[in-house]
């Protein structure tokens, strides 16, 4: 056995380490990279939770930056993020749209009246077909759309204060919709420099 072959076990060890590093280095294997980032929000037609006879389409989402939050009453994490959504609705003028995903209408209405309704309106997706169009595989998921209706960010899991601070708020601020109380006070009296319809 020559001396070089003594290093073969080391080589195999390094190979195994390399495969392990790749395998376990994948951020979180339950976090799929979204295939829809940068793409337009899909066309859809679905009823409103508040009034099932009214249908909404993609046209109701475009025109201003929008957060689309996929939620359901069967989803405990949705309960966990609810307070954060209420806070976002109260402190910003971003359009917040809910997608009630594979849920029942009376239960969802009760949820909103019990815990508060942060949404501008809620779309009913009882079958999960809109979810498939959106690449949703669980709830909650949250999409950030720009004014043109393109998906610029997607969060799988709860919108917690950290996600809000690090991911959503800066992006919204770049789109010019975020109003902190300070900014609001500063700008009161001045004309809205961004020109988004309120």
């Amino acid at each position: 056995m020559n001396r070089a072959s003594l290093f073969i076990p080391l080589g195999i060890f390094c190979l195994i380490m390399f495969v392990g590093f790749i395998g376990f280095g994948l951020e979180d294997r339950h976090q799929l990279p979204s295939a829809l980032l940068g793409k337009p929000f899909p066309n859809f037609s679905a009823p409103l939770l508040g009034d099932l006879d009214t249908t909404v389409t993609k046209r109701d989402l475009v025109g201003r930056p929008t957060l689309v939050n996929v939620w359901a009453t069967w989803c405990p994490t949705c309960k966990a993020e609810h307070a954060q959504l209420m806070d976002i609705a109260a402190s910003t003028d971003v359009q917040l749209v809910g997608v009630n995903y594979k849920d029942n209408v009376p239960g969802a209405r009760r949820w909103l009246s019990d815990y508060g309704d942060p949404y501008d309106f809620v779309i009913v997706d009882a079958s999960g077909d809109l979810g498939v169009e959106l690449g949703v595989y669980g709830a909650p998921e949250t999409f950030l759309l720009d004014a043109a209706g393109n998906i610029v960010y997607k969060r799988v899991g709860d919108v917690n204060p950290r996600i809000w601070r690090d991911e959503l708020a800066p992006r919204l601020a770049r789109m010019g919709v975020f109003r902190t109380p300070e900014v609001e006070a500063q700008e009161s009296g001045k004309e809205d420099p961004h020109g988004y319809p309120s």
């Binding site: 073969i8 294997r29 979204s34 594979k102 999960g128 077909d129 498939v132 959106l134 595989y137």
Partner: protein
């Protein structure tokens, strides 16, 4: 040759995937036997996004049911070709749903690994053969012959 066994063991462990088949309760109508076969083949082909290491045919997760219904709709109602169905799901759920990932920069290592390992194995076998041949052709000089006889105590 112990380590050769170790290499084989590692390769075996990496290639083994446990796929559990669960019972299905979906009832779908098809226009033809051939269409049904296509549907069955397609749902075997996609990975369930929620439950890792199960295809959408073998999963009871709600999302797998939705995707089976979607595949059925695409095949039967919309008349999609197999590749169009694959594209449809890939556009929405990414490469993750494909058990047969396309060759890109990110997936290169997956595709190159078997070839790489086979090459390493080939090199090892080649080296062993060469060494065996080199050993066979060793001849003793006359001096060594006599010394050998001396040691063995013959004559």
């Amino acid at each position: 040759m112990n380590w050769l066994g170790a290499v084989l063991g590692v390769m075996l462990a990496l290639s083994t995937q446990v796929v559990l088949a669960a019972s299905q309760v979906d009832v779908y109508q098809f226009d033809s036997e051939q269409q049904q076969q296509r549907y069955k083949r397609l749902i075997e082909e996609f990975r369930c996004p929620k439950c890792l290491n199960t295809n959408i045919a073998g999963s009871d997760a709600p999302i797998a049911q939705d995707l089976r219904r979607t595949v059925h709709k695409l095949v039967v109602t919309d008349g999609y070709e197999d590749q169009q169905v694959r594209d449809f799901l890939q556009q929405r759920y990414g490469d993750f749903v494909l058990y047969n990932p396309p060759l890109t920069g990110r997936t290169l290592v997956i595709w190159a690994m078997p070839v790489l390992l086979a090459l390493i194995g080939l090199l090892v076998i080649l080296q062993l053969l060469l060494r065996a041949r080199a050993k066979r052709s060793v001849a003793l000089s006359a001096e060594e012959q006599s010394r050998l006889r001396e040691i063995l105590g013959k004559d």
